[in-house]
Amino acid sequence: MRYRFWVALLAPSVALAQAASLSPEARLANLEVAVKSAQSAGDNAWMLVSAALVLMMTGPGLALFYGGLVRRKNVLGTMMHSFILMAVITVLWAIIGYSLAFGEGSPVLGDLRYLFLNNVGAAPNADYAATIPQQTYMIYQLMFAIITPALISGAFAERMKFSAMLLFTVLWALFVYFPLAHMVWGKGGLLNAFLGGKIPCFDFAGGTVVHISSGVSALVCALYLGKRKGYQSEPMKPHSIVLSVIGACLLWVGWFGFNAGSALAASALATSAFVATHFATASAVLGWLLVEWMRNGKPSVLGGISGAVAGLVAITPASGFVKPFPALLIGLVAGIVCFFMVTAVKSKFGYDDTLDAFGVHGAGGTVGALLTGVFATSAVNDSLKDASGKVLPLGLVDGVPGQVFNQAIGVAISWILAIVGTLIILKICDGLLGVRVAPDQELDGLDVSMHGEEGYNLES
């Protein structure tokens, strides 16, 4: 004990003595190594926390948010739609998903270089994130792949067969999510503005990849599966908005990992994305409640939390490109637009988008993607450079109106891929397994009919 104490006390002076005996070049080299490792430690710490935060968005965040909105007999089935993906997508990602999304392949799909996570280890991948182990980048991106199909489940809640839901999700990840993630974020991807894409789109944290893809696919699911039995004739009130409030607040917190984490470093850009995310969410809450109060006479709690999610969705693509006040504006617009989507538009067309996955994620994601083209500025994000290293202007506010057009093309490609891909996959699942539960199973609820359990056994 005493011996160790003296060693600890002497260690710095020994190091100093060693340093003095080294040449200046060697000391500089040592210093460079030390600085690099310090930066890596900081970035890696933030990215691991961010990865955990994004996983928390799916479970329990989304599971609670969606679970509270369904009827009591479907609470477990709905939570399972989120929870099971934490397992299924993880395995798929390890085998082939990461490689298809982030392997450098064609402009639309990655190759198989990272099959079975081959060569994905401690060494950074400089194309994506030069200061963190590629394994950190891999696990961080996995969390996005988990939540995206979970978002779709809002549209087919209370009536999809569990087996068909599993098959649908695996195929959807393979044929919609991985290609789209590659196009937007993968090296050489068609829409990747920073790594050689032909159509440069800005999507900081997944407005197209996550929210448009899931939201639009959700609409296709809602239309394909049809309405729930008794829709608009029987009462289908949310069974616990309390659960949904907890879930929405966990989503809000987790979203800092989603957006600020997408800086891929513990940098000033991460701070900027954090601020933009928070501001947009706040103004979206107020935007939704304001319109609701005026139209319905009362501001509802469900309206407030729905507005929060709409704001989080809309700021996602913009978060690493816009200043705080444009973020407030983006949130406000999203809150108001999504309110009308889930009230006026849904009831006009009569589709049963059960938990408004399309009305919030599809619409909010589209609003956010387009407004990113308006408000993106190199004052916030200076990573777009020409060959000589000069920082390039980004959006309309930087004097590049064409960027709004580029964003629109990115949006259109996401919509088309989501519609066509989802429709084909649903047909396949329907042919093999049948996508919808039997009418009596639907009446009993998915908890009993699919899982053999009940959510609340208060008498036991």
Partner: protein, 112 residues
Amino acid sequence: MKKIEAIIQPHKLEDVKEALKAIGIDGMTISEVRGHGRQKGHKEIYRGMEYQVDLLPKVKLEMVVPDARADEVIRTVVSSARTGKIGDGKVFVFDVAEAIRIRNDDRGEGAL
């Protein structure tokens, strides 16, 4: 013996219990029920979906008392549960054929 069944506003339950205790009645069974008489319900809106909620939460008290005490109990329940507004509830009175204490097979008013 009379069975007195009172459907009252949930927030008046404590007042009614206290009033009954004061006249020496402490046996009763209570259940949470939903219902409505002339009272109109209210409107709830969830993301634009409107629901007319007309079955409102009420509390049902049931107690069986000797014939001699029935009037007094009814008066006590009515006066302690009254707020004077629509929705205060109703009291129903039934004749009871028999009462049996399960523990020792006592019968009639002695079982109450």
